[in-house]
Amino acid sequence: MNITDKKLSAKELPLGDVLDAGTACQFITGGWRSERPVWNKEKCIQCMLCWVSCPDSSIEVTDGKVSGIDLEHCKGCGICAKECPVKPVKAILMEAEKK
């Protein structure tokens, strides 16, 4: 559920600017992208530098290994691609967002 869908009234709102914790994951920001990271599983050396650097916690990790990109929250900043150390071709490359 996107938390911006239902507008609460003044009487329904919790008091004092208090909200549930961790609701950022419900707020879909993937639509903000103009280019997207593409992760190549075969080239990935599992160094975790992309996961450490991602400002939106959008590198998916399963059982301690990078497993994909959370495209609902990735804003396409390209930091993961920049930080990826794999040579000669990086394991994450940026591509134009398909319209």
């Binding site: 009234s9 004092g16 600017d17």
Partner: protein, 401 residues
């Protein structure tokens, strides 16, 4: 009048600052974060000595400015700590943005606010311009006439703030009350502790099992709803203040309301006033009453929330009223208390005969107001009552023109 009903209490000689520090010691808040400023310094200075001497287990945070003081208080209160502080004038002004944040986040911080004039020019003496300037911030404001009231108000403020979920400031007039020694009836530590009870916040940031978000951004679609809640909380605070006062009277034997009516029985002329000058005015009123002049006084204790309907009802039958303001508002028209009284009368007494209303600004920067000034005011009210012209609505008394 002080009457000892609590056998465990004792009579002490205390200044306003000493008594507020004592109240804080007995309340024993979890955190006090503060920065010194004349004439409030002693409240927190004395309290910090209590902390240093191990008389109170409070975590005392000495911060680098009043803005930091309120910021630290907000952090502590949000974490789940019962939090108190103290300041005056420029200090209150420096923490201005944080006052609004404390209220918006509904944190029950209690502040000892020693009323002092705002600069410029620099003046360290007593007037109410500082807290009057903060009257829209969403803080409950309780004004004390003397040290006894300061002590009693600080104790009640803790319960009021926590029930209303609104930060609360308790004032005294700077130097006049803060530094003046008076006879005060103190109550035993255990009674105060029992009265304030433990602090049980609904949300505590330190409760990691129940995480929550505090102070998120609101866009155009939510800010207005949140601010309605805050204004409604202020309206809802009125019955809470009365309920706490009733409970206070049971334990401590001293009665408080939203305002005090002094010799208002069949009063034909009256003044409305806040703070220590009420004491001087009462002496003048006693003399007038002895001469058969039906003079009375209303001393506002709770200025925020403003008890509009109740004040209008109390003033309804009075023929001529002078509202005494110990602060001016550069509104181009009238001073703060007058403006609230006038709007109360206009809305509550619509269609009825209304008292004639005049406004006096007095006592700025600690300028004295003496019995002869009150006699001048009542003299003018008598003439207005008798059908004389009101003249200028706003006057400044005891100032060289």
């Amino acid at each position: 009048m002080i009457t000892t009903t609590d056998k465990k209490g004792h009579i002490a000689a205390k200044t306003g600052n000493e008594v507020m520090a004592e109240a804080m010691r007995q309340i024993a808040p979890d955190v006090v974060a503060a920065y010194p400023i004349t004439p409030a310094t002693e409240v927190v200075q004395i309290f910090s000595q209590f902390v240093a001497d191990g008389l109170v287990p409070t975590e005392f945070v000495a911060v680098e400015s009043e803005h930091s003081a309120m910021s630290a208080c907000i952090g502590a209160a949000a974490a789940g700590a019962r939090t108190m502080t103290g300041t005056s004038s420029q200090g209150l002004a420096l923490m201005w943005e944080m006052l609004y944040i404390a209220a918006g986040l509904r944190l029950p911080i209690v502040m000892a606010e020693v009323n002092r004039a705002l600069s410029a020019p620099i003046n360290i003496h007593g007037d109410q311009s500082d807290t009057m300037g903060a009257r829209d911030a969403g803080w409950i404001q309780i004004y004390s006439e003397n040290s006894q009231e300061a002590y009693d108000n600080m104790i009640q403020a803790v319960r009021i703030a926590e029930k209303a979920k609104l930060p609360t400031m308790v004032t005294t007039d700077g130097f006049i009350i803060s530094h003046c020694m008076e006879v005060v009836e103190m109550t035993a530590d255990e009674e105060v502790k029992k009265f304030v009870g433990p602090y049980k916040p609904e949300h505590r940031l330190l409760d990691v099992d129940k995480p929550f978000t505090l102070g998120a951004i609101d866009l155009q679609d939510y800010y207005f709803e949140h601010r309605w809640q805050l204004a409604q909380a202020m309206r809802d605070a009125k019955p809470i203040i009365l309920e706490v006062a009733k409970d206070f009277a049971k334990t401590f034997g001293r009665n408080y309301g939203l305002f005090e009516e002094y010799r208002m029985d069949e009063a034909e002329i009256a003044i409305v006033i806040i703070g220590s000058a009420a004491g001087t005015a009462k002496v003048v009123i006693d003399a007038l009453r002895a001469k058969g002049i039906k003079a009375g006084l209303i001393k506002i204790r709770v200025f925020r929330p403003f008890p509009a309907a109740e004040l209008a009802a109390a003033l309804a039958k009075v023929k001529a009223v002078a509202v005494m303001d110990r602060a001016d508002s550069c509104s181009g028209t009238f001073a703060p208390v007058f403006s609230d009284i006038a709007s109360a009368l206009y809305t509550s007494l619509a269609g009825q005969a209304m008292p004639k209303l005049i406004n006096y600004v007095y006592g700025l920067g600690g300028r004295d107001i003496m019995p002869e000034h009150f006699n001048e005011v009542f003299g003018r009210l008598e003439k207005i009552k008798a059908g004389g012209p009101i003249g200028e609505t706003l006057s400044y008394i005891n100032v060289r023109m």
